[in-house]
């Protein structure tokens, strides 16, 4: 039984600004940044737990989130609508 999806496409979400030990698939460069949910990919086992030889269950929602590059990098050279899109697990996201 998977956890309930808290976000929908179009929701503004902020990535938790935490730096825990262990295996984490939320890249450092995006932590603390705000983006828009592009889609719900489905629910998957938690890789942080799988890495520690545990089941990673219950499966939890995984979202693709779109961030504007100009907001992520202070020195970004490109268009204001250039984006980076990243898969992020629900437990790393808060409503923005």
């Amino acid at each position: 039984m998977a956890l309930e999806a808290r976000f929908r496409p179009g929701d503004r979400v902020r990535v938790m600004n935490a730096y825990p030990l262990g295996h984490v698939r939320t890249p450092c460069y995006i932590r603390g940044h705000t983006g828009v949910v592009e889609r719900l990919c489905g629910s998957f086992a938690n890789p942080e737990e799988l890495a520690q030889m545990r089941s990673g269950l219950p499966a939890r929602p995984l979202y693709r989130v779109r961030f504007l590059q100009a907001e992520v990098w202070h020195d970004y050279r490109g268009r204001p609508d250039d984006a980076v899109e990243i898969e992020i697990f629900q437990h790393w996201l808060e409503k923005a």
Binding site: P27, Y29, Y76, R77, E85, E87
Partner: protein, 197 residues
């Protein structure tokens, strides 16, 4: 399994590979024929499989819609076996150019396209393409016009990505086989465009 050619002493890591493999075979975890079959299976997967998918999408609008909705099912529709692959296909348009990376390791749609090139796995590509995609693409000789937005897709979790490049001009009436020959691996990663006709 000895290597043909000139004798070279084993490196520590080659020694580890042989030792690990032999232990696992002795314990019945894997067998030598299974390992050989898996090696040959991976060798048989290459970019030409992705090129078939692209060529079909260029010629069949219904297939293209299905491909963008469910990349894995669309590959299987063409008889391409893609075990464990959850594929999302990103379409290049006159307004948007897509490029794929895995900044955390080297995730790649290997069951469709085969093993990735060294540069895709390199520190330099993974560090820079997410931050300065236009500069990295320029190093590949690919110039993205100023009016086109770039989207970088970082494969951080369970999905894998492939770019559907735009069909080159001047290919009207071409059959799928001719079109597929224009589709390069690098155009499906997004660091290049397909070949010109």
């Amino acid at each position: 399994m000895s290597e043909l050619g000139n004798y070279r002493p084993l490196t520590y890591f080659q020694l580890m590979e042989i030792s690990l493999r032999e232990l696992l075979v002795e314990k019945g975890v894997v067998s030598e024929p299974q390992i050989e079959a898996t090696v040959e299976d991976m060798r048989s997967r290459g970019p030409e499989r992705g090129a078939r998918v692209v060529a079909r999408a260029w010629t069949d609008p219904g297939y293209k819609r299905r491909l963008l909705a469910d990349g894995t099912a669309a590959c299987e529709e063409l008889g391409l076996d893609v075990p464990a692959l959850r594929l999302i296909v990103m379409e290049n348009t006159p307004e948007v150019h897509n490029v794929i990376v895995c900044t955390l390791c080297s995730c790649y749609p290997r069951m469709l396209l085969g093993l990735p090139p060294d540069w895709y796995k390199s520190r330099n590509y993974r560090s820079r393409v997410v931050r300065e995609p236009r500069a990295v693409l320029a190093e590949f000789g690919t110039a993205i016009p100023d009016h086109v937005a770039i989207r970088v897709h970082d494969s951080t979790a369970d999905m894998r990505y492939m770019v559907l490049p735009m069909r080159p001009a001047g290919t009207e009436g071409w059959n799928e086989e001719r079109l597929a020959a224009l589709v390069t691996r690098d155009s499906m990663i997004g660091v290049a465009l397909p070949k010109a006709p």
